[in-house]
Amino acid sequence: MAISKEKVLEDLKQKFSDNILEITAQFGDDIICIKKEALLDIVNFLREEPYAFTMLLDLTCVDYMGEEERFEMVYHLFSLSNKLRLRFKTRLSEDDCKIDSLTPIFKNANWLEREAYDMFGVHFEGHPYLRRLFMYDGFEGHPLRKDYPLHKHQPKIPLRK
């Protein structure tokens, strides 16, 4: 039997009252702000029946430069049987740019986290092979950070002219 969105949010609120900072909705999407320590617990809890959020739709990072907690990790979870999407957000500060890896739970988190590491420099604890995904070895900096200039080239081989 399909479970409603309200019920999921209600259960989450009860179970993780200490770790959930805020539940809001925007343009029809539900957003749940959590503490980063509770990420694995919440994801594990939601994976079980009857919630069955078994698919990690997307994982990305946002750079809010100038704010105290600079990076925001954004997770989209999807429940196939209930046809529900939920968005989880958690903040990381620049000095302590670490978060638990989701690789033991979702296999596609492997590449998604490598992408976030490559583009933003977020470290994932417990990731088996944290290596740049898009850029090459020897590339300095993380291109999607707001302080990386758009036109800063780092050629691999010397260019002509």
Binding site: D29, R85, R87, K107, N108
Partner: protein, 442 residues
């Protein structure tokens, strides 16, 4: 830094590099293989050879300018990308699109899907040795691109779907062109079914190769035809209907085993369904609000400008191919709202209000400015759920834009799928995944 495959290399095995400049790797992926004889013991995929900085460059462009970059994400089905991006914006702005443009969007989307599947299967079959199928399928694609070109003005990179509707209406004789495209594609599909679906060589290379269980597919975040080939019934068009998909009658083909052949077969059947949908749309599409005239009467843009200095021009402006914009007469039927669309060229060139509107649309800091907030919207792309995650800070440029690329998640599974198979099995497996470089590397 040593690659993982070098760190884990066993004794007595051979390391072999495949790609990135390899015909079966579609130019942009590199597979490093550890081989024991002909068997793949271990494998590692390296990508990023087509990383063009899409997400970074979007942060410096306005919402309107950014549309052209979405064309070049999944370059085989650009119209679906346009739709996904534009509908994410519409969700933020709260725009309801006129019905006729919804139908136009669906027709073009479904044709794009056919193009996408045709290209994917053509490449897959060619890499398995069936060059004839490749030639046939490319021929069918030409007929579809004829319609695209007639309607949008470009063969591939169209930027046709706009916020609030579509750029222009169908041309006067679009139904004939569409019918030709449908008939020719059907013919090609029938031929290709005959050539491939019971072909012993093809079956031997694809049946029970790289089998994916539904659990594994879900764990990897697979969507689209690849997920449906494992038997999981999930399609964004059915689960979260957008546009007019809930009014159309179509089936979702499902596979049973989740091997390469099922992925091929699901795509073949999906093309049939897409063509069916186009036919239904052709019958159901509402009439245009004003009759289309393409007889070329009217003033040249330059004449109209000089005429507007002395008196109000009585006639419309003949559109020059260099001028962007739609004719005024076609506006009410296909575009919603006045705030978010490019003003008609007649007004821009002939009266001051139109000129101001034009500047207000294109000036820095003006134009499309969604409210503060973030949105995720997904459509069913060629190879799965294509999602756009946009964060707006109230200005005319996105603060952050992230694309949920379907083939990113699918290709991530390749390392696991080919392990234990032969080198030759990599090629149909990789082909059946429909890797699109622009989308994978962004």
């Amino acid at each position: 830094m040593k690659y993982r495959i070098q760190q884990e290399a066993r004794e007595g095995t051979m390391l072999l590099n495949m790609g990135p400049s390899h015909p079966a790797m579609h130019g942009t992926t590199r597979i490093m293989l550890e081989l024991d004889g002909e068997k793949v013991v271990n494998c590692e995929l390296e990508m990023g050879y087509l990383h063009r900085g899409f997400e970074k460059i979007c942060e410096s462009k306005t919402y309107f300018n950014m549309l052209i970059y979405t064309d070049r994400m999944n370059y085989v089905s650009p119209l679906i990308n346009n739709t996904g991006y534009v509908m994410a914006l519409e969700k933020m702005l709260g725009i309801e699109v006129p019905e006729r443009s919804q139908y136009i969007r669906v027709i073009l989307n479904e044709f794009s899907r056919v193009c996408d599947h045709l290209t994917a299967l053509a490449a897959m079959c060619m890499e398995c040795g069936a060059f004839t199928v490749f030639l046939y399928m490319m021929k069918a694609r030409e007929y579809i691109w004829d319609l695209m070109e007639q309607t949008t003005g470009a063969r591939m990179t169209t930027s046709f779907i706009r916020v609030g509707g579509v750029r222009s209406d169908f041309p006067a004789d679009w139904k004939e062109t569409t019918q030709i495209a449908i008939d020719e594609t059907r013919k090609v599909l029938k031929d290709c079914h005959g050539l491939m679906s019971k072909n012993k060589i093809f079956l031997n290379r694809t049946r029970d190769v790289a089998v994916v269980t539904p659990e594994l597919a879900i764990n990897y975040g697979w969507t689209g035809p690849c997920l449906r080939s494992t038997g999981v019934n999930y399609d964004v068009r059915k689960a979260f209907p957008y546009l007019v998909y809930d009014q159309l009658d179509f089936e979702i083909p499902l596979g049973e085993r989740g091997d390469n052949f099922d992925r091929y077969m699901v795509r073949m059947q999906e093309m049939e369904q897409s063509l069916r949908m186009v036919e239904q749309c052709m019958a159901k599409i509402p009439k245009p609000s004003s009759p289309y005239s393409s007889d070329g009467r009217g003033l040249d843009p330059a004449e109209a400008i000089s005429a507007s200095r002395t008196k109000k021009p009585g006639q419309g402006i003949r559109l020059s191919p260099n001028l962007e914009g739609t004719e005024k007469g076609k506006y009410p039927g296909i575009l919603a709202g006045k705030k978010y669309i490019v003003p008609p060229k007649e007004d821009t060139y002939t009266n001051i209000e139109g000129l101001i509107n034009h500047f207000k649309f294109f000036m820095r800091g003006h134009g499309i400015r969604p409210p503060k907030g973030e949105v995720y919207f997904s459509v069913e792309g060629g190879s799965g759920e294509l999602g756009f995650y946009i964060i707006s800070n109230g200005t005319d440029k996105p603060y952050r834009l992230h694309l949920r690329a379907p083939c990113f998640h699918i290709v991530a599974a390749l390392e696991e799928l080919v392990r234990g198979h032969f080198v030759a099995d990599i090629i149909p497996t990789f082909g059946s995944m429909n890797m699109i470089g622009g989308e994978l590397d962004r």
